[in-house]
């Protein structure tokens, strides 16, 4: 069973809609017992870093997530803020992240004042694959994904970076460390490209 963690941040309806589309049973839950039985976990979310961590703490979910991910090695997919919470910390807040991936979360910063690049980085963009990952198995050549974010990861270990995207500079758009997967974009809003990614996560990861 795929469990989509409900921690009161953001739009989980569209992820459920997509699992319905691919015919995979998924449930939205903040119940520790459900999470303990999960064979795949999804941590999605929009909003600020600290509110994400605070909500997870309030729901009492930090210990069970650490146990499932670090000890039982259950595959987890972080989406957008969900992925950023896997890092050590964020410029956006004061609280510590899960520290599952050796990375920090920072805001887009452009040296060139003349640049007309906007923050948030919002819209459809492509990825540059750096390393193989089951998440990208048989991915379409012309794959594009929908992004909405003002912050991004900076990874200390380049081997964790599966793909990058360019917005002023290259930032990690897909990361993986063992059973821990993260995507900065919204696969649930990325047509067949997102469908493929979810199918890969469910079947191959």
């Amino acid at each position: 069973m795929v469990v989509i963690i409900d921690y009161k941040t953001g739009n989980l309806g569209s992820i459920l809609n997509m699992f319905k589309k691919i015919g995979v049973e998924a449930t939205v839950s903040s119940n520790v017992l459900d999470i303990e039985r999960a064979d795949k976990i999804i941590l999605s979310g929009v909003g600020s870093f600290d509110s994400g961590i605070d909500n997870l703490k309030d729901a009492g979910l930090i210990p069970v997530l650490n146990e499932m991910v670090l000890v039982k090695k259950i595959p987890i997919l972080g989406i957008c803020l969900g992925m950023q919470l896997f890092s050590k910390k964020s410029e956006e807040g004061k609280l510590a992240g899960f520290n599952w991936i050796n990375a920090e979360t920072v805001r887009f910063k452009f040296d060139d004042r003349e640049t007309n690049l906007k923050v948030p980085h919002m819209g459809w963009d492509t990825i540059n694959t750096k390393r193989e990952s089951p998440l990208l198995a048989n991915m379409y050549q012309e794959a594009r994904f929908y992004f909405v974010h003002s912050y991004h990861l900076i990874c200390e270990n380049q081997e964790d970076v599966i793909a990058t995207t360019n917005h002023g500079y290259e930032f990690p758009s897909i990361v993986q460390k063992e059973n821990i997967f993260g995507v900065q974009f919204h696969p649930e809003k990325s047509h067949k490209f997102g469908i493929k990614l979810f199918e890969n996560f469910v079947n191959l990861c």
Binding site: G13, K118, H167, H191, I195
Partner: protein, 253 residues
């Protein structure tokens, strides 16, 4: 590099899809769920659905229909029409919608935009502005599906809405609506100088070249209704959307 967004903008009246000319003469063009399914298959960048009968009829958003449509939308989806409460927005987002579009109520109560942006984040709050050129040549804002003149100046209002925390502006030209003869480029140019948030423009698109001109004039994204609903000189109803390759010329302008 981000691709330039090209957005079908669909109008809902009661539970049928319609298309207007100059915001009048709403013609029934089909079933909204069916249309959204087709746009989804064509892999459009984003979709906007505006219920033009909600505010005018003093009705709430049609949550049931929004839910059915969101279930068919595997791309970003924005809904507008009849939104006047934070709870409306919460309910709409829970159905799987990414953005809400607020028009009349943004004029009536601009602080609502601030409240909504604080709770849900600016990226999910779009303010739509319907504009008509007056005899004196000024651009004036109308509400209630183009029926009510507000006397508000375009640039002032855009500045105010941006300060309130709106994430995007959806700018509609009432004069060009449904004509498919090109955007009002001077309107786009004037509005784009007043904003720093993304500006989506709508009203007048008939061909891809029109999109190009709108982007050159300062739009960040382009929207169209008739162009994606009607086909050929007889304006037969046929949902259509250009191939991604044809839209590549809109990137890097």
């Amino acid at each position: 590099m981000l691709k330039t967004r090209v957005i079908p903008s669909l109008l809902l009246r009661d539970s049928g899809l319609v298309k207007t000319v100059n915001f009048k003469d709403a013609k029934y063009v089909g079933d909204p769920i069916n249309a959204v399914k087709i746009f989804n298959e064509k892999e459009v960048d984003e979709l906007i659905l505006l219920d033009i009968s909600a505010t005018v009829g003093k009705k709430k958003p049609n949550f049931e229909l929004i839910s059915q449509i969101a279930g068919e939308c595997f791309m970003p989806f924005g809904y507008g029409g009849g939104i006047r409460e934070i709870d409306d927005i919460k309910r709409i987002f829970n159905l799987g919608v990414e953005k809400v579009v607020i028009n009349s109520y943004a004029v009536e109560n601009p602080l609502f935009i601030k409240e909504a942006a604080n709770i849900f984040g600016s990226q999910s709050i779009v303010v739509s502005i319907d504009v008509k050129r007056t005899k004196s040549g000024n651009y004036e804002i109308f509400t209630n599906s183009g029926k009510e003149e507000t006397g508000l100046n375009l640039k002032d209002f855009i500045g105010k809405i941006e300060k309130m925390g709106a994430g995007e502006i959806f700018l509609n030209s009432i004069d060009r609506d449904g004509l498919m003869q090109g955007f009002d480029l001077s309107l786009i140019s004037e509005a784009s100088k007043a904003v720093s948030i993304p500006l989506i423009v709508c009203g007048g698109a008939g061909k891809i070249e029109d999109f190009k001109e709108a982007i050159m004039a300062g739009a960040s994204a382009v929207a169209a209704g008739s162009m994606f609903i009607f086909y050929g000189r007889q304006r037969a109803v046929l949902i259509n959307f250009p191939h991604q390759k044809e839209l590549d010329l809109l990137n890097n302008l």
